[in-house]
Amino acid sequence: MKKMKVDEVLNTNIWDVDSKPHIVVDYEKCRRLCNKKACVYLCPAGCYTLTGGEILFSYEGCVECGTCRVICPHEAITWNYPLSGRGVQYRYG
């Protein structure tokens, strides 16, 4: 099997992505307070990316694991589950 990219692997899942984000990131805190930016490495869905040194968060591929909520040292993340069963739909789990 060839090495896969995270987007490619996420695409094998079933999704019902909400039009509103269930997670909101306060970029100001990322910019001012956070050097480590561990969310970039530890979000298993690659939702946190660095562009020009700044954090960019996209909720669409989020698998609702909760890692970012737990590791963020600056409480920059307002975290909740999606409503109405939206988000990732595991068939196997």
Binding site: L42, C43, P44, I71, Q89, Y90, R91, Y92, G93
Partner: protein, 427 residues
């Protein structure tokens, strides 16, 4: 706020995972009016785990479990490997009898919910519970958006990210040292290939745990489980240590593992059909609230921190389901006495203490600490492999095991410590 008064339930259960549905099944079977509120589209659509379940506790709760449950393969072969520089040192154990099986957690959870529904429980999906609802400081129901549903008692089975309990103030905010992150891919592969490549007879299952390079030398472990025609391949890393040491995307560690010869051979021509990730409690009882009950409240499963990670095996599903069963027994007793205060519900803690759950968790307390020592994952795999290499790749003289071990250890750790730690972990 609108109060839903036309329906009154004895029990509200938050979450249709193994813990919640098993509580619901037991309660409904005994005639209580139970509703399970689940945020997912279906029961099981939001849960994810590694791949293997210990069967005995579930057989005690569900009649005909072995016949009816969505079991993939009974585990007949156990492997434990240290990986270093692409090489493996493997312990393998084959048994004729099996006490555990592989399964998809989504399907198992959905089966349990169906059992609960057949027994008379109401399962309501697509509903996210936001808060506990209190009257005079006593839990009397739940709040979902601007609606309140009342009941005599609430069973919190919301899993590891216990947002509701945090908001209620029953537990502090989850910390990274309390949990580990697991990620997993499900890879479709013909049954004949699975069996041929792993040396399994038709229908037999394998559980394989790998430490060392398999997690990029982060404390944790990788796993491979065989289902009927898929392989579950993934890894678990402790978040605290990962946070300190990780230097690449965690997803890539799993992709790198797939490229290691020993794994590559097994999954060749496979197709990834699902990828997911989930947190898991990792601190033994360190994540558990002191009291797993309150006035009108019981906490079960991952939300109560009831999980055992021994490195070579994770037990969460059977613990969760059984704790749900014990919570149900407690509620049945409380119901017959007509009191749901914390005093009558404290019976749950007593049942837990007497059950295998607490006994196991206490017995293996030390392991949790060892599991996190960096040596276990960074130094030992290398030492062990080096030793074995010296034993088997003989040039002139053949060393004794002890000689080989001493040579490999030099400057890295003490022989005594190594042997002691290995002994403590596995025996």
């Amino acid at each position: 706020m609108s109060y839903l008064s036309n329906t009154k339930f004895d029990v509200i259960i938050v979450g249709a995972g193994p813990a919640g549905s098993t509580a619901a099944y037991t309660l409904a079977k005994n005639g209580l009016r139970v509703v399970v509120l689940e945020r997912g589209r279906t029961a099981g659509s939001k849960t994810l785990y590694g791949g293997r379940v210990y069967s005995k506790p579930l057989e005690e709760v569900y009649e005909n479990f072995r016949k009816e449950a969505p079991i993939e393969r009974w585990v007949k072969k156990e492997r434990f490997s240290f990986m270093s520089n692409g090489e493996l040192l493997t312990l393998e154990y084959s048994s004729t009898d099996s006490t555990s099986f592989t399964a998809y957690l989504s399907r198992l959870a959905s089966w349990m919910a169906q059992k609960a529904e057949e027994a008379g429980a109401v399962i309501v999906t697509d509903i996210r519970v936001d808060d506990l609802y209190l009257e005079d400081g006593v839990v009397k129901g739940v709040r979902c958006g601007d609606e309140v549903l009342r009941s005599n008692v609430v069973v919190d089975a919301e899993g590891v990210n216990r947002l509701i309990l945090e908001r209620f103030g029953m537990v502090p905010k989850l910390e990274k040292r309390q949990v580990a992150l697991g990620l997993k891919q499900v890879i479709r592969l013909d049954a004949s290939k699975i069996e041929g490549r792993l040396g399994l007879a038709a229908g037999e299952g394998l559980a394989w745990l790998i430490v060392g390079e398999a997690t990029g030398y982060l404390p944790g472990g990788s796993f491979l489980y065989t289902n009927s025609s898929t392989i579950s391949l993934g890894l678990v890393v402790f978040l605290e240590e990962a946070y300190q040491n990780i230097n690449q995307h965690v997803f890539n560690i799993l992709e790198d593992l797939k490229q290691k010869q020993s794994i590559k051979e097994v999954i060749a021509d496979g197709v990834v059909i699902e990828y997911g990730a989930h947190l898991t409690p990792e601190m033994g009882l360190g994540m558990s609230p002191k009291k797993m009950y309150g006035d009108g409240l019981l906490i079960v499963g991952d939300a109560a921190g009831l999980l055992l990670n021994l490195g070579y095996t994770i037990r969460g599903v059977d613990f969760a389901a059984y704790s749900g069963y014990l919570a149900a027994k407690t509620i049945l007793k409380a119901h017959s006495m007509g009191s749901y205060n914390s005093e009558s519900l404290s019976f749950y803690q007593k049942l837990l203490e007497e059950s295998f759950i607490m006994k196991e968790m206490k017995k293996h307390k030390k392991i949790t600490k060892l599991m996190r020592s960096n040596e276990m994952f960074t130094i030992y795999p290398g030492i062990l492999l080096d030793t074995v290499k010296k034993l088997f790749e003989i040039e002139y003289s053949s060393p004794t095991i002890l000689q080989a071990l001493r040579n490999s250890i030099k400057g890295k750790t003490s022989l005594l410590k190594l042997l002691w730690n290995i002994f403590r972990t596995f025996f």
